[in-house]
Every structure is written in structure tokens, then in C-alpha cells.
């Protein structure tokens, strides 16, 4: 009697890492973070940001432009000024006092009320796998709204540099409207930080032509000479830092905060923190959502954000210094 040979004991199921990552993304990330020292799938430690790179003024038709790359996320930002003429009926409500007497709190309102800054984020460029042709996705709209809000809340742009005056009466006759367009070339997570940095760099490199109100033509005329182009007047710096938080459970190490998450980590982690750090270690904006946490976590994020601020600041002083 021959009994059937029992089948060989099955090997424990084994996959190459890429397959494991696709099958059980959360477990994959957790296993990585439980190793000592904790390492993320990308090889970074939890508190490491990706190294950014910056190029400014590489586009010829934009008044200012910047390319920012952090890891595999790359964005191009172009700033273009157009003229908003105030028709005779809609005279400007802000009366220009003699220079210096302009009240500071009026500044932001002028830009906000008239919509002088128009930020848009374009992700329909084949930057990621999930791109579908058509109008911007909910995600793109949400990021756009945050960028615009940050820009207005931080009051970085001084409205003075956007005003176009009548040379005789010193009255505001027109405004520059800044169209800020961010085009995402390549997306691997954390588009907000890269987009924000590119906007800031592009604004700092922006040079608008010198314009004046021409009485004869009843319109705004600009001088074409490159030497008469003026930089925008910007107040200070602000940089965002985004984090993703994953909860490994109390016995396995608690919560881990991941700086500058990539696409995969953003997909797995539900809890997000965003901190906007200002100069002199001040904080301008904190957003946190998606999980229950303690203040200590947020403080840790703030600490990392201020460090990140220094890295960006360093890069900006090098990058903008060299490109002139």
C-alpha cells in the first residue's frame, strides 16, 4: 500500500519587500519603525526631512519663478503680475497717507479685499499615478486653499509694492495682481511644504516692471527697461513643516512622528500636523487633525519645524544670493 507522500511542509509565506508593502502597507511601516534605530522605508529616521534644492528665475516669461525639489517631490512656481485698473467709480478706499503713516493693520485687508494675490496649484501634469484629466481634484483644491490662506495670514507681501500711483496726485489708480501658479512636476508626498517654499522663493525673486498711471492714455504704462524692474517688498520669512503621526500601540513604542512624509507614509498615517514657523522661533500657524494626541506631540512638531526653518533659511540665503 502506498500512501500518498505528504506534501512538504509549506514554507512560511515570504514576499519581497515591495510586495509586502503593497499587501499590508500599515504593517510594513510599523515593522520598519519598530527596528532599532527606527527607520522609515525610505531609509530616513523619523525626524529627518528630505534635503531640499532650490533654483530661482529660470523661466523667462514669468516675473519671478522658482523650482523646489525635496526628494522625489518637485514643483515649479511662476509669479506673474497683471494690472487691475480701478475704474473711476470704484475709487480706492485706502487713502495713501504720507509714507510711514500707513497703518500696518490695513495692509492685509487691501490685498484680501481686492484679491490681489491669486494662488493656484496645478497637479494635472502627470505628476503622479492617480492623475485623471479634468478639473483639479479635491486634494488639489484643499492644498490651494491652504496656500492662499497661509499667504494672506502671514501678511508677507506688503501692499505698497502692489500699488500703482498717479504720479501727480499720489492717488492709487491701479494695483498689481500677482498670479502665483504652482505646477507640480513630480509628486511624492508633502506637496504643501514644497509648494509653499517655491511660492516664497518665487516671490522673493519677483521683479515687477515700474509702472505709472498715464494721464493721456488713461491707463497704466510700464517702463520696459530691465533696470527699472523692482523687487517686491516682502516681510520676513515663514516656512511650513508637515508631519504624519502613526500610532504603534502602547506596548510597541507609542506614537511616532514622521517628518516630511512621502506618498506612501501619507497614505498609511491618518494623523497630520502642520506647523508654520516664523522668524525668531515664532510660530504662525498650527494645524493638527486625524487623531487624539497630547500637547507634547505638538511641541515636538514645533521644535522640528523651527529646525527645518533654519535649513530653509540657509538654502534661501544661498540660492537667492547666487542667482542675483
Amino acid at each position: 500500500m502506498t500512501t500518498a507522500v505528504p506534501p512538504p511542509a509549506p514554507n512560511p509565506l515570504s514576499f519581497p519587500p515591495a510586495t509586502f508593502q503593497k499587501l499590508a502597507p500599515k504593517t510594513f511601516l510599523e515593522r520598519h519603525l519598530q527596528s532599532t534605530p527606527a527607520t522609515r522605508p525610505s531609509g530616513r529616521s523619523p525626524d529627518t526631512f528630505r534635503t531640499p534644492s532650490l533654483h530661482t528665475n529660470s523661466l523667462s516669461h514669468a516675473h519671478g519663478s522658482a523650482v523646489v525639489r525635496t526628494g522625489d517631490t518637485a514643483v515649479v512656481c511662476g509669479v506673474r503680475g497683471e494690472v487691475l485698473s480701478l475704474t473711476a467709480g470704484v475709487e480706492s478706499r485706502v487713502v495713501v497717507l504720507r509714507s510711514g503713516e500707513d497703518r500696518m493693520d490695513e495692509d492685509g485687508d487691501e490685498i484680501r479685499e481686492r484679491g490681489l494675490v491669486v494662488t493656484n496649484l496645478e497637479m494635472g501634469t502627470g505628476c503622479t499615478r492617480d492623475y485623471h484629466p479634468g478639473p483639479p481634484t479635491d486634494f488639489a483644491q484643499a492644498v490651494t486653499a491652504r496656500l492662499q490662506r497661509l499667504l494672506l495670514a502671514n501678511k508677507l507681501i506688503s501692499p505698497q509694492s502692489l500699488r500703482i500711483l498717479d504720479p501727480n496726485t499720489e492717488k492709487i489708480k491701479a494695483y498689481w495682481v500677482l498670479y502665483i501658479d504652482v505646477v507640480v512636476i513630480s509628486l511624492d508626498g508633502n506637496v504643501l511644504d514644497a509648494a509653499w517654499a517655491s511660492i516664497l522663493a518665487a516671490l522673493r525673486s519677483t521683479k515687477l516692471p515700474q509702472a505709472y498711471w498715464d494721464l493721456d492714455n488713461e491707463g497704466v504704462v510700464c517702463y520696459p527697461e530691465a533696470s527699472k524692474y523692482k523687487s517686491l517688498c516682502l516681510k520676513g520669512l515663514a516656512f511650513t513643516a508637515s508631519f504624519a503621526v502613526i500610532n504603534l500601540g502602547t506596548e510597541k513604542g507609542g506614537k511616532v512622528i514622521l517628518s516630511d512624509p512621502d506618498e506612501f507614509e501619507e497614505g498609511v498615517c491618518e494623523e497630520r500636523v502642520m506647523v508654520c514657523a516664523l522668524e525668531e522661533e515664532k510660530v504662525g500657524w498650527i494645524e493638527k487633525g486625524g487623531g487624539v494626541g497630547q500637547v507634547a506631540e505638538v511641541m515636538e512638531c514645533v521644535r522640528r519645524a523651527t529646525e527645518r526653518f533654519k535649513a530653509w533659511e540657509q538654502l534661501f540665503s544661498e540660492g537667492l544670493g547666487s542667482s542675483g
Binding site: S60, R129, A226
Partner: protein
């Protein structure tokens, strides 16, 4: 209609800046008519895509001179959505979009307009024949091209506001769109190769133009602003009928003409050329090719041949650049594969990166 999915500018509308008429002189590139511009082409700059490439014509000495910059990314072959009908071949779609800040004059809209749709259609025609679509049934290959910066000369897209400063066009046929399309074809073909999709051949785009030679005494004025240039041309046109019978106009063939060169281009041709198979996938000519129009048919044919041959010569030059970029990428990939093996042996302590056991 306001676009509620985007942030719009002031509702009153804004206008691009108007400049005083300037006498800024365009530095005319001192290229011989048969010299191609250098091309910077690099693949795999969009890692999330299956394949990608970036093409740039390097900026000449004068940094304000516009150049062409575009990126292409390729996704696929990936399964078509279940709603589509069965297709035994891969479906290749191409989309070309100008960035809002890429053109002189007015900003581009966010929604694709007619010109962009036309260029997209031509791009997909030019590429489709180079891909071995029979190898990938029921799949889609999507090509996206975004133009970040272009040289102008886009015909009616140029608003007159930018005329004084930006467009150094010399009248005649506008070749801006042709060079954008040629660049897009070359870049997208490199991206398709980078994606590892099986192709019959690489496609390269080339542009050539027939340029009206100016009378000798006017040569010195070549550097004048666009308006003057056009006046000259008008004079030429006026003087033509009288001198036509004795001497025909002399046309010079210029390879890879740029809108910033300030040539008066009578006719231009763009081809998408597969050099290894010696086949054309796309021909696009513009302008009046038979100048005399007096039934002297041979002349017309000759000029068509001349300008298309010129475009093919230009495309052959571009092809060498694509070859280099693809080869560079291939070598890098092979090297990386070798390195990966070496690392696995050395750094086997990082057990997490090795095979992970699932129970």
C-alpha cells in the same frame, strides 16, 4: 464664467502690463543656418511616473532670452478602465498643456484650449506609430507633456501687449508652435523609452524653415525691433512684382529656426522622424511654399522637398541627443542593479529591507 474650483483673480478682470514702445535690442543669435541649438535632455526626473524626461534648450548668453522647457511623463502600459470596449492594441493618449506662466503676453488658462488639444492630437499621432502597440492588448499608455517655458511666436496666442518686449519676431510664419511640438515629440519619445515600453524606433522632432534673404544693404538693420522688421518686409513685398520676372527671391534653408532669431520665415516644416527606420510619423508645413504661383510647378515641389529634408536633417541631429539620454539612463540602471546586489551582501544586517516573513 468663474471657475469655482480655482482661485480667481479680481472680478473686474486684469490686463497684462502695457509697455512703452521700447528700443531694446534683441541679441540675435549668431548661429549659422545649419547649426542646431544644443539640447539638454534628461530622463527619469519624475520618479512616480513609469517613464519621464525633461527637455530644455539651454539659455544663450543673454539670460532674458526665452527658451523652451518642457517635461514629459508616461504612465503605462496600465489596464484600461473596465467601461472601455475591448482593444487588441494599446491605446496611446497624449496631453500637452502650457503652464499659465509659460507664454509671453497673456497668461494661459487652466483649461485646455483648442491649440493645446490640436497639439495633443498631433503628439499622439506622432508617437503612436513608434510604439509596438500590439504587445500590450487592453492597456492604455498615457503621455503628459507640460510646457514650462516657450520662446513665443505662437501666432494668435501672442497678445499684442507682449509685443514690445517679449517677441522678437521677424514677421512671416510663426514657428513657435512647431518648435514646441517638435520638442514635445522628442521629449515624450525619450520618456516612453525610459518607461521601458517596447518601441519600433525612437521619434525625434525637427523643424526647418525657408528664410527670405534680405538685400545686402539692409543686413545691418537686422537687429531692429519687430516693427521695423515688418516694415522692411513690406517694402520687400512692394518691390517684388517689379523684379520678379528677372530674379526670383532667394530662400535660405535654416535648420531649427527660433522665434527669437528674427528671421522672416516664408515657409516652415516640422517632421517627426524615426531615423533607424527612415520613416516619418508626422509632417506639418506652414506658409506659402510655391512662391511664384505662376504654374512653375517644379519649383514648388523642390521647395517642399528642400524644407522637409531640412527638417529631417534637424530631427536626425535631435535623435543623437535622444540616443545619448536613453543610453545614459540604461547604463545608470545597469549600474544600479549591480550596486543593489552588492549592497544586499554588505548591508544584510538591515534585515527589515530583506524578505519579510508574514505569518
Amino acid at each position: 464664467m468663474t471657475d469655482r474650483r480655482r482661485i480667481n483673480g479680481p472680478s473686474e478682470g486684469t490686463a497684462p502690463p502695457v509697455f512703452l514702445t521700447s528700443s531694446t535690442r534683441k541679441a540675435i543669435t549668431k548661429r549659422s543656418p545649419t547649426t542646431l541649438r544644443k539640447i539638454f535632455l534628461k530622463t527619469s526626473l519624475t520618479p512616480p511616473a513609469t517613464g519621464s524626461a525633461f527637455l530644455e534648450l539651454p539659455t544663450p548668453q543673454n539670460s532674458t532670452t526665452p527658451t523652451l522647457k518642457l517635461t514629459a511623463s508616461v504612465y503605462g502600459p496600465r489596464p484600461l478602465p473596465p467601461s472601455t470596449t475591448f482593444s487588441p492594441n494599446a491605446r496611446l493618449t497624449a496631453e500637452l498643456k502650457f503652464s499659465p506662466f509659460s507664454t509671453p503676453g497673456r497668461r494661459r488658462g487652466y483649461v485646455r484650449d483648442g491649440v493645446e488639444r490640436d497639439l495633443s492630437a498631433q503628439l499622439s499621432i506622432a508617437l503612436a506609430k513608434s510604439v509596438d502597440v500590439g504587445k500590450y492588448p487592453k492597456s492604455g499608455i498615457d503621455v503628459f507633456v507640460s510646457v514650462l517655458d516657450c520662446e513665443g511666436g505662437l501666432g494668435d496666442l501672442d497678445s499684442d501687449a507682449g509685443k514690445g518686449r517679449d517677441s522678437g519676431k521677424g514677421g512671416g510664419v510663426e514657428v513657435g508652435l512647431m518648435s514646441v511640438l517638435a520638442g514635445a515629440i522628442s521629449c515624450a519619445s525619450a520618456a516612453i523609452a525610459d518607461a521601458g515600453i517596447e518601441c519600433f524606433d525612437l521619434v525625434a522632432g525637427g523643424v526647418a524653415g525657408l528664410v527670405l534673404e534680405k538685400p545686402k544693404w539692409r543686413k545691418g538693420k537686422k537687429a531692429d525691433a519687430g516693427q521695423e522688421e515688418e516694415m522692411d518686409v513690406a517694402e520687400d513685398g512692394d518691390s517684388k512684382p517689379s523684379g520678379k520676372k528677372k530674379s526670383r527671391r532667394t530662400l535660405t534653408l535654416v535648420l531649427d529656426p527660433s522665434p527669437t532669431d528674427g528671421y522672416f520665415i516664408v515657409a516652415a516644416a516640422m517632421v517627426a522622424y524615426m531615423a533607424a527606420r527612415d520613416e516619418l510619423t508626422l509632417i506639418w508645413t506652414k506658409g506659402s511654399i510655391d512662391p511664384a504661383g505662376d504654374g512653375d510647378g517644379d519649383d514648388g515641389v523642390e521647395e517642399v522637398e528642400r524644407v522637409i529634408d531640412g527638417a529631417i536633417t534637424a530631427a536626425t541631429g535631435v535623435r543623437l541627443v535622444i540616443n545619448e539620454a536613453v543610453k545614459e539612463r540604461l547604463l545608470l540602471g545597469l549600474k544600479e542593479m549591480g550596486l543593489v546586489k552588492g549592497n544586499a551582501v554588505v548591508a544584510s544586517g538591515d534585515a527589515d529591507d530583506g524578505d519579510t516573513v508574514m505569518v
